[in-house]
């Protein structure tokens, strides 16, 4: 585990307000989801998951075919398709289009893919204003932070912190009433929508047989982003495809329920190309940016490619006992929680944060709630093995190997095992019959491990002693 990962975890654990905020927010999302999938409300929930998994598996296994079909259909509706290998190609494309069209202001709707490539920063670096319009995203943009949660980006911010941010950044009088804060943001962003030259959105689904982008949201900012400016650019990872519009009957029901417990979100937009000749409004130009940025690397692994089925509902975060303690910002990349723990090493390499696949109790809650049935615990195990192999190759695990060799030797010698057990019991601090919370070994190689774990009290007699006395 890197020092930074360790520090961030400790900072979060030491902040009681933040702990409560994470616990309450995720608890509420768990409860809302549970209500929305109850058998009398959604009797075919498990069948929907099975179907979603089968459709995603089929699409990912034939991704080249569906990408080509999708691109053909976008072009047939008058849109343009741009394939990009990485972040730089995306920002180069946006910058050159903005320059050609003399665009100065961009409005953005929430997109994890654009977070992944730091698109805002890249554009702002080149003096192009790019404003997030989802309320949560707007708040974290003002704070220059990363999303704390896939579907609730500002989950960690209190109304007081939002009040300070709005006053600092917008110069408005301090306002702590949430309704009024929302209306301040609405007024500022409404001006931006009406003045913007380009709208950039992500995509929840890309529909191959229609050449359509599907966007799911509650605020209306994605509708405004994709309809008010004259140019709409959608940016999405290549894995977002589904074969047919009719597959949405399965995916839309699962996404809303898994994310926030909604049967359907407030707005679902099904967009295909620029406005047609006889339509009154909508964008004049439509561009579809399809991003690789490491996805083809993930695709090459037969077992782990299921990581690309993810529809970004965030249910695995809410249900993860680790996420619920360490929060979103402890994770080393934009994707947090269990899905982040499997995506990050695959996109950035296992050495980026070797501790990440180990930061899990493997309890399996993530796999149980995943609407597309990604076997996250199995992938974590595979990644752990990859981390260890990499360490063995680099020889960075000498101490660990030595420790396990000693362990193996002790385990093969019952007498020595018993003596070692007695020695450990006599060395262990007394917890007065309760859990031992401070362990003297908290320096040295075991520090990181022990610092986050309490130990059960030492039993007065060992099993062997009791066996002999029986």
């Amino acid at each position: 585990m890197s020092t930074l990962f360790d520090e961030k975890i400790h900072d979060t654990l030491a902040d009681p307000k933040l702990q409560l905020a994470i616990y309450k927010a995720t608890g509420r999302l768990i409860e809302e989801r549970r209500k929305a999938i109850e058998p009398d409300i959604c009797p075919d929930y498990q069948e929907l998951r099975t179907q979603a998994n089968a459709v995603k598996r089929h699409t990912i296994e034939h991704l080249d075919y569906y990408l080509e079909e999708f691109a053909r259909n976008i072009e047939a509706h008058g849109g343009k398709v741009i394939f990009c290998r990485d972040a730089e190609e995306v920002s180069d494309f946006v910058l050159s289009l903005a320059k050609e069209r003399r665009a100065e202001l961009i409005v953005k709707s929430k997109s994890m893919t654009t977070e992944e490539i730091d698109l805002n920063e890249r554009l702002e670096h080149r003096h192009l204003e790019s404003v997030e319009t989802d309320l949560g995203e707007y708040i974290i943009q003002l704070a220059h932070e990363r999303p704390y949660h896939i579907v609730a980006p500002a989950l960690h911010k209190t109304r007081e912190q939002v009040a300070d941010l709005l006053t600092d950044k917008l110069g408005v009088p301090r306002e702590t009433v949430i309704e009024k804060q929302t209306m301040i943001a609405r007024a500022v962003l409404r001006e931006k929508f009406l003045a913007a030259d380009i709208g950039i959105s992500g995509a929840n689904f890309l529909v191959a047989d229609s050449g359509a982008v599907v966007l799911v949201e509650n605020e209306g900012n994605a509708r405004l982003t994709t309809s008010a400016p004259k140019i709409h650019i959608a940016v999405a990872g290549i894995e977002k495809l589904i074969p047919r519009a009719q597959d949405l009957a399965v995916f839309l029901k699962l996404l809303g329920r898994s994310a926030t417990g909604q049967w359907l979100t407030v707005y679902t937009s099904f967009l295909s190309g620029p406005r047609r000749k006889d339509e009154i409004d909508g964008p004049e130009e439509f561009y579809m940016v399809l991003l690789d940025n490491g996805r083809t690397k993930v695709l090459a692994d037969r077992e782990k490619r299921q990581s690309l089925y993810c529809i970004r509902c965030g249910a695995c975060l809410n249900h993860c006992p680790v996420y619920r303690k360490i929060g979103g910002h402890s994770f080393p990349w934009v994707y947090s929680g269990p899905i982040g723990a499997i995506l990050t090493p695959q996109f950035l390499g296992v050495r980026h944060e070797p501790g990440l696949p180990f930061a899990s109790s493997l309890c399996g809650a993530c796999a149980e709630v995943c609407p597309v049935k990604i076997n996250i615990p199995q992938i974590l195990l595979d990644l752990r093995s990859e981390v260890k192999k990499a360490e063995a190759r680099e020889g960075t695990n000498r101490l660990e190997r030595f420790a396990f060799r000693v362990w193996a030797w002790v385990m093969r010698h019952p007498r020595i095992y018993e003596i070692a057990g007695m020695a450990a019991a006599s060395l262990a601090p007394s917890g007065d019959g309760g859990w031992v919370r401070s362990v003297p070994l908290s320096a040295g190689p075991l520090r990181a491990w022990l610092s986050q774990r309490d130990l059960p009290p030492v039993a007065p007699k060992s099993f062997r002693q009791m066996w002999r006395e029986r």
Partner: protein, 210 residues
């Protein structure tokens, strides 16, 4: 630009060749329950009201117009060019502008109007959802920019749910650049999970079933 590079990487990762045919995808899963019109209307209204939308079952076209007039209450309103609005006489109400076909003009109008009024191509009973397809009759902005939104839905347009919609419209992109499903008023819970309505879209919606 990088089209061939990316496609080539995808094919290599999957061990596929360019133009290689695919296996049959899993059959589409669509389930349409049998529910009569009255039950659909009841479910539709219950769902919208559960989301804090208002509904009204109009006995006649005139009744729908009177209800809309009460909501407009002297504010400026923009109505779409949907025939149902004309048939109900809503487009003739004082303060209601209609028949706008210019993009910029419509956007400016919607940005200042107090109320937006549209028809609905379909409605979904099980979720309380309005379905609007962009066309020369329906624009995107009317249901989005004004703070109050009224939709007039004909009873015969009420479908059981999403599965029936996608059975009737297996490929919406053939007809329109934009199909939007609207389920309740615009909302957010991004600050401390406190629900606030009307963040970017209308915070107040009225659905009249005629």
């Amino acid at each position: 630009m990088s089209r061939e590079t990316v496609l080539h990487k995808v094919r290599t990762a999957l061990g596929r060749n360019a133009g290689q045919p695919i296996e049959e995808p899993p059959p589409v899963r669509l389930r349409i329950p049998e529910i009569d019109t009255e039950a659909r209307i009841a479910s539709f209204r219950t769902r919208i009201e559960a989301l804090a939308g208002k509904t009204y079952a109009a006995r006649s076209a005139h009744d729908a117009r009177d209800y809309a007039e009460g909501i407009i209450a002297g504010r400026t309103a923009v109505a779409s060019n949907a025939p149902i609005l004309r048939e109900c006489g809503i487009t003739a109400l004082p303060g209601v502008q209609t028949g706008v076909t210019d993009r910029e003009e419509l956007r400016a109008l919607c940005a200042t109007a107090g109320v937006g009024i549209t028809g609905a191509d379909y409605a979904l009973a099980d979720t309380g959802t309005l379905v609007l397809l962009s066309s020369r009759q329906e624009a995107r902005m009317i249901s989005l920019l004004p703070p109050v939104y009224i939709a007039i839905v004909e009873r015969k347009r009420l479908l059981t749910g999403l599965d029936e919609l996608l059975t009737l419209l297996p490929s919406p992109a053939e007809q329109t650049s934009s199909m939007v499903l609207i389920t309740g008023p615009s909302r957010t819970a991004d600050i401390e999970q406190i629900l606030v309505r009307g963040v970017h879209g209308p915070g107040e919606i009225h659905v009249v079933v005629v």
